[in-house]
């Protein structure tokens, strides 16, 4: 459907398809004919056929709808915004976070708290980093604003807990060193779009 058709609010001018419904009979003879027609139409048995077909599909053709949830999980979209992950650089294994503090600033529910300091190489080091998942609304702004794709949303959505405040530390969210080779590049919110190269324009030099 094109946008013009979609924006057309003049109800009744569009191309609606009307169902070919008969009028309800009022006279006795017409009512009787309708009853006879409905009696000998196989509609009821078509209904029985549908349910039997679905049962055979489910039992013998492996088309059962049920997912036994705690034991098997459906794949979730890469754009799904669940509990955060902290990514590492693939080459060196260092964490990507540069301690810029943008995520802390943009967080609209004030749930990210971080402290940074300079290490011996005058490089920003994250000394404290917590996310309060009792407050986090999983809006995705932190992942979107992160210039290094360091904080991203992972796929761990089962975060029910007995306490309202569930703090997560930087080390908990950071990719473990021994699983570095399994670290996936984040494709979701805030990631570079697949056609990013085409969108790059040369910087105008003459201001």
């Amino acid at each position: 459907m094109s946008l013009e058709q979609f924006k057309d609010r003049n109800v009744g001018t569009q191309n609606y398809v009307k169902l070919d419904l008969e009028h309800t009979p009022t006279e006795g003879w017409c009512k009787f004919k309708q009853v006879v027609k409905r009696t000998f139409q196989p509609e009821l048995f078509q209904g029985l056929g549908v349910t039997l077909r679905e049962m055979i599909n489910a039992l013998f053709r492996n088309k059962m709808h049920t997912t036994k949830y705690p034991f098997e999980k459906l794949p979730i979209s890469p754009r799904y915004r669940a509990v955060h992950d902290m990514l590492r650089l693939m080459e060196s294994g260092n964490y990507r976070c540069i301690g810029c503090g943008l995520c802390e600033k943009i967080c609209i529910s004030d749930c990210i708290a971080m402290e940074t300091k300079y290490d011996e190489n005058q490089r920003k080091e994250v000394s404290e980093y917590t996310i309060n998942f009792g407050r986090c609304i999983f809006c995705g702004y932190c992942a979107e604003v992160c210039p290094e794709l360091a904080i991203v949303h992972g796929g761990r959505f089962e975060n029910a807990s007995e306490q309202r405040a569930g703090f997560s530390l930087f080390e908990d969210m950071l990719t473990p060193m021994d699983q570095l080779n399994q670290q996936q590049e984040y494709a979701g919110f805030g990631a570079i779009s697949p056609n990013a190269d085409e969108n790059i324009k040369s910087t105008p030099l003459a201001y």
Binding site: L48, L52, E54, M55, K68
Partner: protein, 340 residues
């Protein structure tokens, strides 16, 4: 199979038979809830109960424990005596009706069994010669259960449920009687044994009386409160109708009664219309009767999964304006054919 060749039926045999019927049918009635949930689930491409036992088979035990241990609540303004006795009426009439229908083949208890050795257990607990009348009458009086339950519980949904019970009873009962009258005219007897023997050599009764069979099945659905006509307790409209205020085992008794009635209707349909407990080709008789009853049970669940239910006024319209004239015409034609 001459009836005079069979051993004498003693009181001990009848008591054993009654205990067997009570135990087996009550177990099957409970098991029917499991079957129903499974079949409905498969037809909606779900799994149904799976977690308790293998394939969820022990779900029945879990439900039983739950029902037995639940609090037995009697509402404040209810008529306590009638409220307490109504589920018993439903369950008891359902089992009394089973006394006069043939359930399982007859057998003699082994000699080495203490006290009961050599006792002949008949296939019918009470082989009365008006079996059909007795069974239909008992199943009809079973509707006193919902009627009294709904009126005794001081609940508006219950009142609507019992009003619908009365409507349903007035609607289907005429069709049940008239539809089964034509086969009775052909066989000339009201005994299930005579019906069975009539179909031993010849064709099944459904070949002679297809219209009566369809009418009886429709009336049977109404009689057992199954889905096209489950007006008494339709959840979407009247919460649960007559069982709204019930809990625990009193609630369970209604459902044992309902499932026992489903089995009874299955047995009547099998014996009267579908050839009874006779051998069929190479399949022995006892397998045939179980297959027929199982299919009629499955058919009730199948219909529940497929068809929407009707309104009370539609049921009454259907029964009195369509089915009853059809049944009368069927009886008329049957009578003419017998006369000629």
């Amino acid at each position: 199979m001459d009836a005079t060749m069979l051993p004498e039926v003693t009181a001990a045999g009848v008591i054993v038979k009654a205990v067997i019927i009570l135990a087996v049918i009550a177990a099957i009635a409970g098991f029917g809830t499991y079957i129903e949930r499974k079949i409905l689930a498969f037809m909606q491409r779900r799994l149904g109960p799976t977690h308790v036992g293998p394939f969820g088979l022990l779900q029945l035990a879990a439900d039983g424990i739950k029902l037995f241990t639940k609090e037995d609540i009697i509402p404040q303004h209810a008529n306590k005596f009638i409220f307490a006795i109504a589920p018993v009426i439903t369950a008891a009439t359902a089992f009394i009706a089973l006394a006069a229908v043939p359930v399982f083949p007859d057998f003699t208890i082994w000699e080495w069994v203490p006290f009961l050795g050599g006792v002949f257990v008949p296939s019918i607990a009470a082989d009365i010669n008006v079996g059909i009348l007795f069974v239909l009458g008992m199943m009809a009086s079973g509707l006193y259960g919902p009627l009294l339950a709904g009126m005794a519980q001081a609940n508006k949904w219950g009142i609507i449920g019992s009003a619908r019970t009365a409507i349903q009873f007035l609607s289907y009962e005429v069709v049940t009687g008239l539809s089964i009258l034509a086969p009775i005219m052909i066989v000339g007897s009201l005994s299930f044994v005579d019906f069975n023997n009539y179909q031993t050599d010849g064709l099944w009764m459904v070949v002679y009386q297809p219209v009566a069979f369809i009418l009886f099945i429709i009336a049977g659905f109404a009689e057992t409160n199954r889905t096209p006509f489950d007006l008494l307790e339709h959840e979407a409209e009247i919460i649960s109708g007559y069982v709204t205020e019930y809990s625990g085992m009193r609630w369970g008794l209604f459902f044992i009664g309902e499932y026992a009635n489903m089995i009874t209707i299955g047995i009547i349909a099998s014996v009267v219309f579908l050839g009874g407990y006779n051998d069929f080709w190479f399949i022995p008789a006892w397998i045939m009767i179980i297959l027929k009853i199982a299919f009629s049970f499955f058919f009730m669940l199948w219909v529940r999964a497929s068809w929407p239910h009707v309104r009370p006024d539609q049921l009454m319209w259907l029964c009195w304006k369509v089915l009853m004239p059809l049944a009368v015409i069927n009886i008329l034609i049957t009578g003419l054919v017998i006369m000629i």
